[in-house]
């Protein structure tokens, strides 16, 4: 069980995380989406005890991470964004060390290490050092190091960043398998598809604040059935807004000199009317794209920016 309530982290005048709160129950995967620099990693650092929150509370299986750090950390597994491995030691030595850090020893430790190696598909390469592994294999070992002690709560900080599609699919399977065992999972990513595919519930974070939260269905409902249309060119925002307001089932999300973004129901049919209205308002069009409703469109609707910007 993960409980985050009013989490805030401030560095001088910079507020990296501002009043973030959510929870994830047993066997559930909670996704935290946001662009780079939105506050995802800072949230995970506060949750894992690396950083002390300026305000708010984080509880891991009922243990406060600030006041009962050892008890909370004992239940916690963390898979960091960057690889955290001893490249010169074998995979088995790596896992043995991290298992010992969580108090495992003796036969139990050895059995658990073998089991995890098999689980991530590295048993036949257990004696090799990670420096001899492919990128995907390293990612799997990195994941294995985070779950070798069978944590009740698992924090994954963009574990698939820079991973090939095949390894990514395998990692996502591993995450699902953890949740199936009853582990509460927090999964941060800026890949919308992953979040949509994996998470039971989600929150979107931007500039340190949660701007939307709910199940996938709830978030999709926030977007509605409207597609997202983006037109790039040269525009006069003062003339564009009234011109587009006359179109049925449409809403201007953003409009500036270089681009216009609007939500339109049935964009494929309405697109000629949209383009005509823009041209009539003195706009010079260079590029047009439209996207079906998704978390991406929700993020664009909420922030006016693309998630990967």
């Amino acid at each position: 069980m993960i409980e985050v309530d009013g989490l805030r982290k401030q560095y001088g005048d910079l507020v990296a995380v501002d009043g973030v709160g959510f929870s994830a129950g047993e066997g559930k995967i909670f996704g935290l989406l946001g662009p780079n620099g939105a506050g995802k990693s800072t949230t995970i650092s506060c949750m894992s005890g690396l950083l002390t929150p300026t305000d708010g509370r984080v509880r891991i299986m009922g243990h406060d991470i600030v006041h009962e750090p050892r008890a909370a950390k004992q239940q916690l597994g963390v898979v960091p964004q960057e690889l955290a491995l001893y490249e010169d030691l074998s995979a088995r030595d790596n896992l043995t060390y991290w298992a010992a850090a969580y108090g495992l020893s003796g036969t139990g430790l050895r059995d658990r290490v073998d089991s995890v190696l098999e689980y991530v598909g590295l048993l036949d390469r257990a004696s090799d050092p990670p420096k001899a592994y492919s990128g995907g294999m390293k990612r799997r070992l990195n994941f294995a190091c985070g779950v070798v002690h069978e944590p009740k709560v698992l924090l994954l900080d963009e574990p698939t960043a820079g991973v090939d599609p095949q390894s990514r699919a395998r990692l996502l399977d591993l995450v699902r398998a953890q949740a199936a065992k009853g582990t509460s999972v927090l999964y941060t990513t800026h890949y919308m598809e992953e979040a949509q595919e994996l998470c039971d519930s989600l929150a979107i974070i931007d500039h340190g604040k949660l701007i939307a939260m709910g199940t996938l269905a709830e978030l999709r409902a926030m977007v509605g059935e409207r597609d997202l249309v983006r037109v790039v060119g040269h525009f006069d925002p003062e003339r564009i807004r009234p011109a587009l307001a006359e179109l049925p089932d449409s809403e201007v999300l953003t409009a500036d000199q270089d681009s216009v973004m609007l939500a339109v129901k049935g964009a494929a049919l309405q697109l000629p009317a949209v383009l005509q209205a823009l041209a009539a308002a003195g706009g010079h069009l260079r590029e047009t794209t439209f996207t079906e409703p998704s978390l991406e469109t929700l993020f664009m609707k909420l922030t006016g920016r693309e998630l990967r910007e």
């Binding site: 894992s48 690396l50 960091p80 955290a84 991290w98 010992a100 020893s105």
Partner: protein, 412 residues
Amino acid sequence: MRFLIASVVKDLKWRLADPMALALWVGIPLIIGTLVGLATGGGGGSGTLKAKLLVVDQDETLAAQLLMGAFSQGQLAEMFDVEEVDLASGEIRMDNGDASAMLVIPADLATAVLSEEPAVLRLVTNPAQRILPGIVEQVLEVLVEGTFYLQRLFGEQLRMMTEELPQGESMPGDAAVADIATQINRAMSGLEGTLFPPVILLETVVDRPETEAFNFALLFFPGMMFMSLIFVAQGLSEDLWNERKQGTLRRVAVSPAPLAVFLGGKVLTAAVLMAGASLVGMLLAVVLIDVELSRLPLAVAWSTLGGLSMLCMFMLLQLLATSQRGGGLLVSVVMFPLLMIGGSFFPSEAMPGWMAMIGGWTPNGLTVEQLKMVMAFDYQWGELGRSAAALAVGAAALVSLVWWRLRTFAVQ
């Protein structure tokens, strides 16, 4: 405890995965030592170092000349550079550390010897040096003892040499010499049963070769061997940056394992590696320069303690830097002057006194000086214990600061 052992095992495996680095840590000092030895005229043969002995002759008699001459004859001449000075300039030079010792011969020495009265020879030694002043003291003790027996056996004849000296003559006349010789011969005949075999004289002679056989490699070797341990400390101190760079330090920080235990594992690993390196060095010393095997365990333990104190200092310097490169540079900037004044490049006996004095206050200088005593001389348990306590307390204070800094270093 399990995590401590796991940390030591992990760090040892990590280090042994790069045996070349280990070989370089131990090998480089030996190469430097060899080069220094060659540059200074041989790697530790006798005669490479001389004890500068200042003599203040306030007596200015034949007895005083004989005493001074004893340091300038035979093989002692290879060990001592005797210079006669007046008291004021001698004291100034001793204050400046320009000499190993200053001998003050009192004005009444000859009279005291002849009249069998007590006289006090004052020997001022250089506290920044340990070995050479000790040799001066030992030689002087032998000379004083010899003078005592001479005084007891031939005191009457010696008095005749001075009392029967004609006015204005520096040497007695032929008749007086013949008379004195006859009396000495009779005295010798009377003592034949005691002196032949001449036990006392033979004892004195046996005592001297021990000094003459003093191996100057013993002055160089401890410094060189400890330099290996300092290089080990330098290399291991970078581990904290390596752990951070590869993300493993953060992983430790998010685990329930205390960072203090993680740090303790680093220190214990260093102790194992340093003990191994110093064991190799000491075995070399046993084989090459005849250090007694029985001195090996204490020498290994002592040098390991000194090495750990250096490691703690270097780790703190690493953590104070803002980058790994900066940390390495900072450690080098501190390490090489310490090596220089702490007796690793040149023994303190070959340094100016002020430098040797400062070096003695550095952790490596303190370690090297005591290591010399442990390896080859009569070390004092009390002094060794005090030095060990100073090193241990210093290391504990430093490692506490490292732990304090590590907590923020781990999450940066």
